[in-house]
Symmetry: C2
Subunit: 444 residues, 2 copies
């Protein structure tokens, strides 16, 4: 039903429908404000499972949910697919690509993060990221195509180039993708590809730090490295990617400088992530926004960058102990974003006068390494192995939005577990469509 | 397991893994020959349900099945993803793009069909076809994007351009897509798009003949037109598309010549289909192949275009009464293709000496118009309405390859039927990947 909202009601514009923006919009459902959610895409993406789309276990629709469906029964929450190009703070208007500016009374910036390449364009061009559904599908198609090419290759060196996969970045995303890729290769080599004997593929995980899973306790990082190695993955710590070409990755160790070249057709990028927002940096004249060392937006203890403008999630520099303390920035993960989103919704509901500053409650983090192996960390409690894996399954199913997705994801997982199969091994090359292109921006 | 085939065994190369090629390969599973299946894609596509992917009801993986999974347990059947560029009949070799020629003893051409535009390149450029998964996904993304654009449009004329969808061609594909699109619009307009009141969209089906569903009995065609009209579709018979631009379709009636222009951002092409094969036409010197009036390959009563070379499915001109009779060519549908594939498999198993010429057994054809409405025709028997719909469901589920697909398709259908919803309304713009591009050719 079409509910026309009364005039003179406070207008809240939320930019970005990730975990933070969505949580904020949902908590404002039914409130005495008009909410407009803007996103360049028409669906919310459950990014923690993106690597399973990239490894042909889940379909895109299993982890993506159209915003218009989410808010179908919310008379005061509207969605518009639009790319925000800027904000006029004085006029209180949001500028969108190819459309009229949108007025707001209260603005919530939840524009999230994207791949960051430390100013190395070659890396951006020669590696495949994993921040969007588009990239995950491209990665899936790419890896499956590499296997087909390897099956046809006559020159052994050429074949091994097609069968070598370098993953850059040993954070949760890199570790989870690496584990799932090793599993995928173990499932299809020899069986679906009799031309390619089991173990003929090479998976290399490269991490600049001296351990995997930075956000976790060192012991869990060590466990992740061990279980990946036990799955045949080469884990290179304290190592950086110096160069990426079409058929090789040039690595350099942190200790000794000499470079080693790994011939490979596939380089996956999960090493760098940075905030993505359309705002200009601080000018001497006082205009623009203030950023943290990581270029996230500086916010006050009520998550405001200025009166009436909030910033939450990956794009905001929120310090667990409050802005005043020198505490660490909260990691770019969904739990902080969701808590920040709900906090801002509460602040808006209370007329913009929050009773207390934002405080983050750490409910723990987790990452899966593969079949029956995962790590979970809740405060002092650390779980790993099968128990960690079960915990991971339950939590992720619980947080998956929408009944259908939960059911189909469970089905796919069950299928995968019982049949040791990867159901969705399709190489689909989608054609460019100008209308879609005008709506959905490039991810680069 | 890797079964190395003995040398000197007959080598059968099948080009194309559609209904015909797949049926042939499956019936040769376990036979005393080595079978190599070549296809430009790595999956078999259940094309009869393509329109459901295009209307956001099914996921690609529901109707596509990787060849390597199909033949996982077939020691004598191998798959290779390759695009065939030509055949050297004298050397008995198949030429493939970017690879060594492949030798054969027996060749089965099952290269299928593609969109045909009657030599009008503008139509090819300005319309969206529905012959491949790629096109179906593009169509889905395009239509959903049009709705988002319409929701943002301020100019009424512009808005109605975004909300007008012209489908060219009233054959089974055109009718089924039109019915599903009308249903999709009925489900989301007003509900998911409060900005767009129900009935604000316009769906126009254009057919050059004086009735829909040419292959069916006239009464079923009339029924299809009636039930589409009852669903709000404008059905224009004896009408042709004279011109297609970015924002309009120019139509001309068969009776009176004057043209009418329909402003629309979407023109779907299902009017022309032609055989796709890499073979040169007949030369005076005797080289090349002989084609029928529809440009399909002329075959003898044993489906051979020459000794050791068979042609089946859409690419072959098979006459129901045998090649000698003047009977009609069999329609470009899956049942003839599958029967021809099995016939050729039998002929190959019997050492290339078939006991009888090929005869087609008409098991009937069917098409669905929408919720609880379909037409089915088995010889003199004609079913329509709810009963036809049930028949359609059962038959299509039965023929869907692979357990997983059947289960998930049934789940999606049940979901759609009960919840009157379209689960998969994602606008995903997949990025170009050179490795994939090298394997998977354009559909144009």
């Amino acid at each position: 039903m079409t509910a026309v909202a009364p005039i003179f009601r406070e207008r809240v514009v939320i930019v970005g429908g990730g975990f933070g923006g969505l949580a904020c919009a949902r908590d404002l459902d039914g409130a005495d404000v008009d909410v407009l959610l803007l996103d360049a895409r028409n669906y919310h993406l459950f990014t923690p499972l993106l690597y399973q789309v990239a490894t042909a276990l889940l379909d895109p629709s299993d982890i993506a949910y159209p915003f218009r469906t989410v808010f179908r029964r919310s008379p005061n929450v509207r969605f518009r697919q639009a790319r925000v190009t800027g904000v006029d703070f004085d006029a209180r208007r949001v500028e969108v690509a190819g459309g009229e500016p949108i007025a707001y009374d209260t603005l919530v910036l939840a524009t999230g993060s994207g791949n960051a390449y430390f100013g190395n364009p070659a890396l951006a061009e020669r590696t495949i990221g994993m921040k969007s559904l588009d990239e995950a599908l491209r990665l899936r198609n790419h890896v499956l195509s590499c296997l087909e090419r390897a099956a046809q290759a006559t020159d052994p060196a050429e074949r091994s180039r097609w069968l070598t996969f370098v993953i850059v970045g040993g954070g949760p995303t890199g570790v989870e993708y690496t584990g799932a890729l090793a599993e995928l290769l173990g499932l299809v080599l020899g069986r679906d590809f009799p031309e390619l004997p089991p173990g003929s593929a090479r998976v290399v995980l490269v991490e600049g730090a001296d351990r995997l899973l930075g956000p976790f306790h060192p012991r869990l990082g060590a466990y992740a490295a061990d279980s990946l190695r036990s799955r045949g993955v080469e884990v290179l710590l304290s190592t950086f990617v110096r160069e990426a070409t079409d058929d090789a990755a040039v690595l350099a160790s942190a200790e000794h400088g000499e470079a080693t070249t790994i011939p490979a057709r596939t380089i996956v990028w999960s090493a760098g992530v940075g905030p993505t927002d359309p705002l200009p940096d601080k000018e001497p004249d006082g205009a623009g926004v203030t950023r943290s060392r990581t270029r996230r937006l500086e916010v006050d203890e009520h998550l405001r960058i200025r009166p009436g403008v909030y910033a939450i999630g990956d794009v905001a520099s929120v310090r667990s102990g409050g802005a005043d303390t020198g505490a660490e920035e909260l990691p770019m993960l969904s739990p902080p974003a969701m808590q920040e989103g709900r906090y801002v919704a509460g602040a808006i509901r209370s007329g913009g006068e929050p009773v207390r500053p934002f405080r983050y409650t750490d409910k723990g983090t987790m990452a899966t390494i593969g079949r029956r192996a995962a790590v979970a960390q809740v405060g002092p409690l650390r779980v790993r192995g099968f128990l960690g894996w079960i915990t991971w399954l339950v939590v992720h199913l619980y947080y998956l939005i929408g009944f259908r997705n939960r059911a189909t994801v469970l089905a796919s997982w069950g299928w995968d577990y019982l049949r040791r199969d990867r159901p969705i091994r399709l190489i689909v090359r989608s054609r460019y469509d100008p209308v879609v292109a005008a709506l959905v921006p490039d991810d680069s």
